[in-house]
Each structure stands twice: as structure tokens, then as C-alpha cells.
Symmetry: C2
């Protein structure tokens, strides 16, 4: 599944390929987010044209809407949303703990009410696998418990122990299903390391999960309120515990500089709402010069709503949006035209995808 192609001579950064049932993905990579089976304002084919090789969707959201009966009828998310790109799906753990109402853990079941209509649902480690079988996820994530930071050692321990127990249930169940279905067997499954910002807990969590022999390992419970410095420290001691021959995924991160620092610490996979969410508010990611991650200050952000862009003839970018000026996008935001969202999203996703291509290029050239 994961092929390590090259290790940087300057850092722990790695170049590789992640092989999925729906094709290969060059690492390190960034996954545009299609939480509810749609990328904000863009067709999946348009995102593919920007260079995306994989996208991310979500177990919790798809379970609630459109509902599994609908997805099942289509034979999975890919057909439903018309994308042939590999899809990684979140387990829903994060959403159940952050969005759902009246949440109650009974044994291995999380009973909760939908944040949309109050309907009652149950998730547990096996059901989360079953759901991702229906979704047709190319990469499944196990159900975990993610605690926000700051937190106490005791709370982090409790979440870690539950996460490990659930991971074992998930992987055992998945192995059983593998024997029944070659299609399911081709769906990769990743474990999620927890442990908050406590070194002993992170090491323990990593050790327990590695023993379960997952197809890849995510580091969860970061980008949940801590400083970048703390996040990098956790990566420094956690990544070393993970096997070299498996992909490593830092969940929910981050700004371009966070991604670069994480790549230097051996991370291969990223997802984040930043490019799409900030596009919605008119915040655009802009290369200062040619895309170049080796230089400092290689990018900036602008708020296109700012009056200074009213007559700015500078193109939004020099590639896909070179025929649209900042003045035009400013106008679209000021008048609330829905096209504003698409152009801003396109700009930011292209920035992130180009960033990852530049990172891969920099590793190849031993510059990162």
C-alpha cells in the first residue's frame, strides 16, 4: 500500500506513494474536504483538474444526510458524488464528540442525537466499519475519542484507552470482513494515535496501535487548541514510534507553515478546512513569488473584501484564474454573487495542492 520512495537528507521528510483501490496518491499530499459528499462550490472533477489525487469525506455527516440507504443504493460515495478519486472517510468520532447532542457512551456504543433533527443514532467501532464499507471508502478511519486541548492526564488516558480498545475491535472486525470480501479487503484501514500533549501517553498509544498492524497511522487530537510549538513537539516524539513503511496522517492540519513543519517531521498526509472555509470569507492564499516552499515568507493572504482591491487589475492568480482580476472577485463578494465562493475556493485549493507539489519537489531535491 505505502511505498517509501525517498527520505530527505535534511529532515525526516519522506517522498512516497500510497496505493489505494482507486489508484495511487503521491505523498506528502493534502485532501480537499467534501464533508457532506460535496466540495464547497466545486465539482469533484474540477478539483481533480486542479491536481487533487484524493479527497476526504465524513462518516458522521453522510450517515445523517443523505443517509446510508441512499448511499447504498448508489453503491457508495464515489458514484453518488461522481468522483473516481480515492476517498478517505473520517470515522465520525470527532463529530460525535463536537457536534452531536445528548451524547452517551454505553460500553462500546456512543448513543447520540443528530445536531440537525435530533434523531437518535448509535456508533460503535464495528458499525463505523460497516458504514465505511457502505460508503466505499478507500481509506477507513477507526472510531476514536479525541479530546480538546488543554486537558488533564487522566482524561487523556481514559480517551487513549478507549481509543485503543475500539481500534482493536475495529481491526479484528475488518480482518473478519476481509476474508468474506476482496472488495472490503482492498479498503485500507488506519488507526489513530491519541494521548493529547503527554509524551508517555502518545508513546503508549502509538505502541498499542502499531501492534495492531494498521495500513497506516493517523495522529489525532492535534490542532484542537494547542500552540504550533506544542503540536511540533508531539510530532517530534510520536512520529518516531510509527513504522517507516506505513503512511502517516496528521488530521485537521493546517496552515501552510504547519504542513511544512509536519512534513519535516515525517508526516505524509493532511486534510484541513482552512482553504475552503477561509475562501468563504474572502481570505485568499497568494504566492509571493513563484511557488517555493524553501524560501521563508513564500506566501501571504489577502482579504479580498478590502476596499483597496476595488480597482486592482492584478489577476487572482497566474494560473487557472489569470483572466479574473482581484477587482472582479472583490465585486463578486461585495454583491454576494455565488460565483465569488467558487473562484475563492478554487484559488485556495489550487494554492494548497500546488504547495504539496512544491513540497514533494523540494524533498526530491533534498531542499526540505
Amino acid at each position: 500500500m505505502f511505498e517509501l520512495l525517498k527520505k530527505s537528507k535534511k529532515s525526516k521528510a519522506r517522498l512516497g506513494v500510497l496505493n489505494t483501490a482507486r489508484g495511487k496518491v503521491d505523498t506528502p499530499f493534502f485532501m480537499p474536504i467534501a464533508t457532506k459528499a460535496a466540495i464547497k462550490s466545486m465539482e469533484a472533477s474540477e478539483v481533480k483538474n486542479l491536481g487533487a489525487q484524493i479527497i476526504l469525506s465524513n462518516t458522521y455527516h453522510n450517515l445523517l444526510r443523505p443517509g446510508l440507504d441512499v448511499i447504498k443504493k448508489f453503491g457508495g460515495l464515489h458514484k453518488f458524488m461522481d468522483s473516481d478519486l480515492p476517498i478517505l472517510t473520517d470515522s465520525g468520532g470527532y463529530q460525535v464528540f463536537s457536534l452531536a447532542k445528548l451524547r452517551k457512551i454505553i460500553g462500546n456504543d456512543i448513543k447520540f442525537q443528530s445536531h440537525i433533527d435530533g434523531s437518535t443514532h448509535i456508533l460503535n467501532p464495528r458499525r463505523v466499519i460497516d458504514i465505511q464499507v457502505v460508503l466505499g471508502s478507500d481509506i477507513m478511519m477507526v472510531l476514536d475519542e479525541c479530546v480538546g486541548l488543554p486537558t488533564t492526564w487522566d482524561k487523556a488516558l481514559e480517551a487513549l484507552e478507549r481509543t485503543s480498545r475500539w481500534a482493536q475491535l475495529a481491526v479484528d472486525y475488518k480482518n473478519k470482513l476481509n476474508k468474506k470480501s476482496t472488495k472490503i479487503k482492498k479498503q485500507l484501514i488506519f488507526g489513530i494515535v491519541q494521548g493529547a500533549d503527554f509524551k508517555d501517553l502518545r508513546l503508549r498509544s502509538a505502541k498499542e496501535l502499531v501492534a495492531m498492524n494498521f495500513d497506516g497511522y493517523a495522529i489525532g487530537g492535534l490542532a484542537v487548541g494547542e500552540t504550533a510549538k506544542v503540536m511540533y513537539q508531539v510530532l517530534d516524539y510520536t512520529v518516531d514510534q510509527l513504522p517507516e513503511n506505513k503512511a502517516r496522517y496528521l488530521m485537521g492540519v493546517g496552515y501552510p507553515e504547519n504542513i511544512i513543519e509536519a512534513v519535516k517531521r515525517g508526516i505524509d498526509m493532511f486534510d484541513c478546512v482552512i482553504p475552503t472555509r477561509e475562501a468563504r470569507h474572502g481570505k485568499l492564499y497568494i504566492w509571493r513569488t513563484q511557488p517555493n516552499v524553501s524560501k521563508k515568507n513564500f506566501y501571504t493572504t489577502i482579504n479580498i473584501n478590502n476596499a483597496k482591491f476595488r480597482k486592482d487589475k492584478t489577476p487572482i492568480n497566474n494560473t487557472t484564474l489569470k483572466n479574473y482580476s482581484r477587482a472582479y472577485l472583490h465585486h463578486l463578494f461585495k454583491t454576494g454573487e455565488p460565483l465569488s465562493l467558487k473562484l475563492a475556493t478554487l484559488n485556495n485549493l489550487e494554492f494548497y495542492l500546488t504547495l504539496m507539489a512544491q513540497i514533494r519537489q523540494a524533498i526530491r531535491a533534498n531542499k526540505l
Copy 2:
């Protein structure tokens, strides 16, 4: 400018070509609306790919936002919004009388306050031409006064007389500018026939405008509250007053059946918010069978929000959206995903553009 290619043997329907500074447009045609220099949720290039040969924008809206100083800096609307399609611009008359606040007519000036920020502006017949010179409109419309229906003969007369007086001022001014600039000379200018639903007034208005020798003639003041029957009656006696060698434009119409009936009465050009506005609410235009305007009940509309589409695997359409199901679009509307608007708009605009192509085909075959 207008070339009449064929007259139907079954009705007053005509096939023709309207030549503009930015290329030819096959008549009868429908203009997708880009009121504020943007088509709702679509790039102009995407609308061109659907078969649009011309789009419509608006003097009033562009005057207020982005403002003429911005458009001037870009050398016109085309460059600003990145479209090489011909653009027809409304004169702003309709918007000043329907949207603007504290409107006051002083001589030939309409003084009004912006409906957005209350700022004061003035439109008059010459200024409306000047604005459309800045916009770079391929087809300019004269400033007119449109009264809603029902109305009295006296009110309709007053509006007609003002419209004729303003039309003369506009055409005289345009002729003066033509001598100074070959670029302006290539911008077509259309007069607008008013007169509400009073035959004597419509005939008088048409006669007065025809004497001014416009490049084309619009019929305004319809689709403003009257029944379709009344609208067809007005067309029946008005169109005959217009010269055969000039294009005829029915403003703001309409539903597919209205367009077909108007084409049968000799109309060549249409614009309407229906396909884009109704898309916003999830109302989709659907061909019942193969596109065929000669058959009755050739289309239907569906409300994609309806629960019955939740699991409907039927493609949205059989052309550009054949890979997306109704169930998927239903899901996008239910979850408020911005992609919903684009797919629905695309469906409806494609329907209208295909409708016009079918109408032209039917005229060619003497079936309309």
C-alpha cells in the same frame, strides 16, 4: 446587423442572424442574465460552453456596483467579467422605477437613491448612452419608462410620451457619438415600445420609434402583471408595426410556452430571470422526451427538494449532468451545499438554450 434568413410558413416565426461587434447571434435566442456582471454561480465561459451566444447585463446595477470608474479601468464589462460573448445591457429604466428609492423626475433627469446605500444618482437619456459606452455593450437599450399592469390609459400615455421623447434624445446623441468613434458606431442601439395593453398607444409608440430608425426594437412593459392572453394580444398587433429587417426583442419573457408563443408572433430575442431564479429554489426544467417544441407538454418542472427524489437515481439531465442523479442534487439542496445552485442553474440554462436551438430547428423545418 439583422439578417432575416427564413420566415416560417406556419406562423410569423422568423429565423435570422443578429450581427454584433463581438460576433453573430442566431435568432430566435435567449440571453442568460448576468445582472451584476456575473451569471448566478456560473463562469461566463461555462455558459458559453452550454451554447449561449450572448448574455445580458444591467446599466443600473453596474452603475451602483462596481461603479463606472472600475469598469472604465477595465475597458468595459467584457474584460471585467472575462467574457468574449456579446453583451446586451438594459437601460436601467426598469430598475430605477422598481428598485430605487426617492425617485424624482425633473425634466429629462431621473434623480434617485441607490437601493443599496442610499447614495444619490442621476440617469437621463444621454447619460444612459454614456454609461453603456463605458460598459462596452454590444447592444444598448434606450432609457424608457415602464409601467406595471394593470394601469390607466392616461398613465400609459404619459409614460409612452416620455419614452418617445427620451428615445429621440438618445438616438440623436448616439448618432453624434457615432461620428466621433467607430467603436461606438458598432454598438447597436434598440428602442423600446411601450403603451401598456392599449392598442392605440402601442401602435403610436411603435410608429414613433420606427421613425427614429433604431438598430432593433424591444417590446417593453409586458410580463409586468398581465395574463399571457393579454401579452399575446399586445404582440399580435404590435409586432406588425415593426420593420421586418430589424430584430425584435420581448423583454423579460418568460416561461417556455410564452417564448414559443412569442416566437410564433415574430419575436427574435428574449431574456428572463426564470431559469436562474427558479434554480435557486430547486425548481428544475426537464424535457419530457427528446427536446421537441412541436409537441405539447414537451417539458415539465420538478421541485428537487421534494422527498420523493431522495433515492432517485435518474440523472438530472441526459447531457451535461448525466453523471449526477436527482438524489444527489436533492441531497445538495437539503444540506445547503453551494454546488446545488450551480448544478440547478446549469440544468435550467441548458434547458432554455436547448429550447431556443429546438425552436430554430422547428422554424427551419416549417414546424412552428
